[in-house]
């Protein structure tokens, strides 16, 4: 009986061998694939297993973590003033992943980032719980509040930048949403998420950076800058050679002005009362290529990373002469994010130097050690210092003598420059126009704040009353005031 016994022994050995081979296949060859499988909840479980780090504004966290007592995802994200800060923080949801800062800095916030390796190792030895690091933002709580409350129940967005550094001070978008409402994964969270997805007013859209709008008249400052830089205008008070009713090239139409007194108006006067004919003609004089060059120096035709990605603003590179003339007054294909217009304003307020906008100031380890500090970085110099100061003169004139009176701060030693815009859009301009306002405040030490405001559509305002000066300027004023006050 021993011969079959030996064979059976070999057979049993083969059975064990087959199991060993299968196990190697499973746990060695396929381990990564199985580990990263979308159905594998372990990644999510790990993300919420420990207290997540916080996003900090003015030294105080605007996020938090609560022990939800859940057996799968232990900690749940909470947000203070969620709707106000949502365009900055993004969301971190147990069911719907994360976006914006919550996603970009996920490694730091969860504590899984390689830069936190030392902390993790230390925690392992001291027996401490793993904890995420903090993200310190550049935002200004008071400015954000002014922006968010100024927008109120209107649809729109506000971006405020510190022109000297590029720090983003406020970024508001309405209507907004509360990221807390779907931070978990219960039926309630699902309902909130689905409702937001279905909402026609798109509350989850970050209008400040992810929506591009026709800029309308606020774009005229870019055309003015191009005219000055290219020597088409040297004296801003000199008369320009513009007939009232300037004929658009390659077209039978004439450029109509809403304002009176635009014929041969000086550049300064034309900006004060927002003459379409003057700027369309100037854009035509400068030419498409130079206009494109100027717009791109300000950041058009490129995505910006703050580090949250913004949509690229558009200045049409292929426009014909007529299209270029229309583009020069912010119509035709020109489209811009509020962030982009804030950058234009900031560059002018900063004497021609455009700083790269950013909103993450510092990354900190759980033990508050500094991991990374963002240094201000120069992005480009769209205009010379002299021309920037000429532009400032003109924009300040808009506030004192022109359409931007509502932005005046009436504070001693503070000069305010601005530009209004009422952007018509839709088929035959039939939709309710967008109200724009860009402005900056300037003291003897330079400019601490530049703001861009857009109010998309305002319930309860009659069509005739929609104007940049009326709707958007007061919001810009409040934001600037908040920044100046918080600086003491």
């Amino acid at each position: 009986m021993n011969k079959p016994l030996r064979r059976v022994a070999i057979f049993c050995g083969l059975l064990i061998l087959a199991l060993l081979v299968r196990d190697n296949w499973l746990q060695f060859v396929r381990a990564d694939e199985l580990n990263a499988h979308p159905k594998n909840r372990r990644v999510q479980i790990e993300r919420y297993a420990n207290e997540r780090g916080n996003i900090i504004v003015d030294g105080k966290p605007i996020t938090g973590s609560v022990d939800s007592g859940d057996e799968f995802y232990k900690f749940k994200r909470t947000y203070t003033d969620g709707p106000m800060w949502a365009p900055v923080t993004g969301y971190a949801s147990q069911a719907y992943d994360a976006n914006q800062i919550e996603k970009i800095e996920d490694g730091i916030l969860t504590g899984n980032d390689d830069r936190l390796f030392f902390d993790r190792t230390l925690a392992m030895f001291t027996g401490d719980k793993k904890k995420g690091g903090d993200v310190v933002t550049t935002l200004n709580g008071a400015a954000q509040k002014a922006a968010f409350e100024g927008l109120g129940n209107k649809t729109g967005a506000v971006v405020a930048i510190d022109p000297k550094t590029g720090k983003i001070l406020a970024m508001a978008s309405t209507p907004s949403y509360d990221p807390s409402s779907f931070a978990g994964y219960s039926g309630k969270d699902e309902k909130a998420w689905v409702a937001l997805e279905k909402d026609k007013s798109k509350p989850k859209l970050n209008r400040a950076i992810r929506e591009i709008y026709p800029p309308g008249s606020v774009f005229k400052v870019v055309t003015a800058a191009a005219a000055l830089e290219n020597g088409k205008v040297t004296d801003i008070d000199a008369k320009t050679d513009t007939p009232e009713g300037w004929k658009i090239p390659l077209s039978n139409k004439e450029m109509i002005n809403h304002a009176k007194g635009c014929a041969n108006a000086s550049l300064k006067r034309a900006l004060d009362i927002s003459c379409n004919s003057v700027f369309a003609k100037l854009g035509d004089d400068v030419g498409r290529d130079k206009m494109v060059e100027m717009a791109e120096k300000f950041g058009f035709n490129a995505e910006q990373f703050t580090p949250v990605r913004s949509s690229a603003s558009v200045y049409d590179k292929q426009a014909d002469r007529g299209g270029n003339a229309l583009s020069s007054i912010g119509q035709f294909n020109t489209a811009t994010t509020p962030l982009q217009m804030a950058m234009v304003t900031a560059a002018i307020a900063n004497d021609g130097k455009l700083m790269k906008p950013y909103m993450i100031d510092e990354l900190r380890a759980p033990n508050v050690d500094l991991l990374k500090k963002t240094e201000p970085e120069e992005m480009s110099r769209p205009v010379s210092q002299e021309n920037a100061q000429l532009l400032q003169q003109m924009m300040e004139s808009v506030v004192t003598n022109g359409t931007g009176g509502n932005a005046d701060l009436n504070m001693d030693g503070v000069k305010v420059g601005g530009k209004t815009g009422t952007a018509q859009h839709g088929d035959k301009n039939a939709k309710r126009p967008y109200a724009w306002f860009i402005s900056y405040a300037k003291t003897a030490e330079g400019s601490p704040v530049a703001v861009a405001v857009i109010v998309e559509d305002s319930a309860g305002t009659s069509r005739e009353d929609i104007s940049g000066g009326g709707l958007a300027a007061p919001i810009a004023r409040d934001v600037m005031k908040a920044v100046l006050k918080s600086r003491g």
Binding site: N2, C12, R22, N35
Partner: protein
């Protein structure tokens, strides 16, 4: 012993008993699970678990008692079997205790039954009963050949055991499988014990009939077919047990019995044709069952494409099977080479049966590839020691019994681990010693007891020959 004076025969050689080797190995088999227990406590609560001393002492006490009994009543037995079983049983206790702490499993239990009771304490009790069973086998079964006398009684007993779960009022339907009986507060799986009893019947019958089966046969299509009167009874018993198991939805056990039967038949008759016939019958059986039983269909679908069938599942049953299978695979995958460490994995995502059918997934996730291979080799060693015992046994009955038991053990490991790792479709059996379940632990301790008894008989030195009276009388006469 004054064998030197005996000149007629070769004297008995004092074979080393290897009891001290066994004791040293047992020390490891107790210390390793105790450290594992400590590891789980530190990983999950950050402090030394309160029951550590009790657990360590309990395991050491059980191992010590078993060792002393072996030392006294089976001194020449194989030194590896007891430490291997102790180590597996001890690690099983740690793994079950670890899953007891899982907040997810506690919450699931609260949702479903409004109560939660940890399984580790009862498993500890079952282990104690198992060791008692082991001791009982060694004390009562002084010679395994005694079992030969109970060949036909074994047949009846095994059939009764298999039929018990079908008795109304006694049987309990748990998750679709009717393989439990409930007496008082306990549920017993008679199939686990039937495995042992059936092995006794097969050995006894085949030992008597093996020549008839091997030689008195007709040649048919190149195969030797034995006479009906020799093969009839055994085929009948086997077929009846299979039918019962199919009615009870217990495919794993029927596969196990079938495999055990074929192996023993082959060993007894030394005819390869049995293997061929066995394989043909297995294929035919699998085809019939696979195409008719819906729960088998689900499992085959889950085996072929666990992730894909999550989307294509046609009913809730299939969806559950696929979900379980994909969770198990991800558990193994997440373990990687070294595992997450005891107490730090998420194998409890498999939900219920995490501590019984799928306990091997916890090994995979928390101890990794390295740990799984160690466990497979430990099981492999038990099988190897069992087959060695069979080779060494001097009587055909002992040979067949040892072979049947170790072959069944090997098949069970293959069917369970292969099913859990997705090598073959899942059949719903449990890892011996590792998984939660009283019947399994007790029956497997009895199995180890029987193997130890056979190995003791096999390795026992030949008794010293009785002093020959002739040797005393005959004088060498010198001239």
């Amino acid at each position: 012993m004054s064998v030197v004076t005996n000149t007629t025969t070769i004297g008995a050689i004092e074979a080393p008993s290897r009891r001290n080797t066994e004791l040293a190995l047992l020390a490891f088999a107790v210390v390793i699970p105790v450290f594992a227990y400590l590891n789980v406590g530190l990983a999950m609560d950050g402090k030394v678990p309160a029951g550590m001393l009790g657990y360590g002492l309990g395991l050491a006490l059980l191992a010590g008692v078993a060792h002393l009994v072996v030392r006294k009543w089976a001194p020449y037995s194989d030194p590896l079997l007891l430490p291997l079983a102790t180590l597996l049983n001890g690690m099983g206790l740690v793994l079950i205790w670890r899953l007891d702490q899982s907040p997810r499993l506690i919450a699931t239990s609260m949702r479903l039954y409004k109560s939660f009771s940890p399984d580790a304490p009862s498993q500890m009790m079952y282990s104690a009963i198992g060791i008692a069973m082991f001791v009982g086998v060694l004390l009562l079964l002084k010679d395994h050949r005694v079992l030969q006398r109970y060949t036909y009684i074994s047949m009846v007993v095994s059939l009764i055991l298999l039929l018990l779960p079908l008795v109304p009022g006694l049987g309990a339907d748990v998750f679709g499988a009717k393989i439990w009986i409930r007496i008082g507060g306990f549920s017993i799986q008679p199939g686990e014990f039937a495995k042992l009893v059936l092995a006794v019947f097969f050995s006894g019958y085949l030992m008597v009939k093996r020549d008839a089966l091997a030689l008195a046969s007709r040649r048919f299509m190149g195969l030797y077919l034995p006479r009906g009167r020799d093969l009839g009874p055994i085929i009948t018993i086997w077929a009846v047990s299979l039918l019962i198991l199919v009615f009870e939805n217990d495919l794993g056990t029927s596969l196990l019995f079938f495999g055990m039967f074929v192996i023993m038949l082959y060993v007894a008759t030394e005819r390869t044709s049995w293997i061929v016939m066995g394989l043909l019958m297995a294929v035919a059986g699998a085809a019939v069952v696979g195409s008719t039983a819906s729960h088998v269909k689900s499992r085959v679908a889950a085996w072929l494409d666990p992730f894909g069938c999550l989307e294509t599942a046609t009913d809730q049953n299939m969806l559950n099977a696929c979900d379980q299978m994909s969770q198990v695979l991800m558990s193994f995958g997440s373990g990687g080479i070294l595992g997450t460490g005891l107490g730090q994995g998420n194998s409890d995502l498999i939900q219920f049966a995490a501590n019984s059918d799928f306990i091997f997934a916890t090994v995979g996730e928390e101890l990794g590839l390295a740990g799984v291979m160690v466990f497979l080799l430990l099981y492999g060693l038990i099988v190897e020691r069992g087959i060695r015992t069979s080779l060494a046994a001097r009587d055909p009955f002992g040979k067949l019994l040892a072979m049947g038991l170790s072959g069944a053990f090997a098949l069970q490991i293959f069917v369970v681990a292969g099913g859990v790792m997705g090598l073959i479709p899942l059949t719903g059996m449990t890892m011996p010693f590792l998984a939660y379940g009283g019947s399994s632990v007790i029956a497997n301790w009895a199995l180890i007891g029987i193997l130890i008894r056979i190995s003791d008989t096999a390795r026992r030195p030949a008794p010293a020959p009785a002093p020959s009276p002739d040797a005393e009388m005959t004088q060498v006469v010198r001239p």
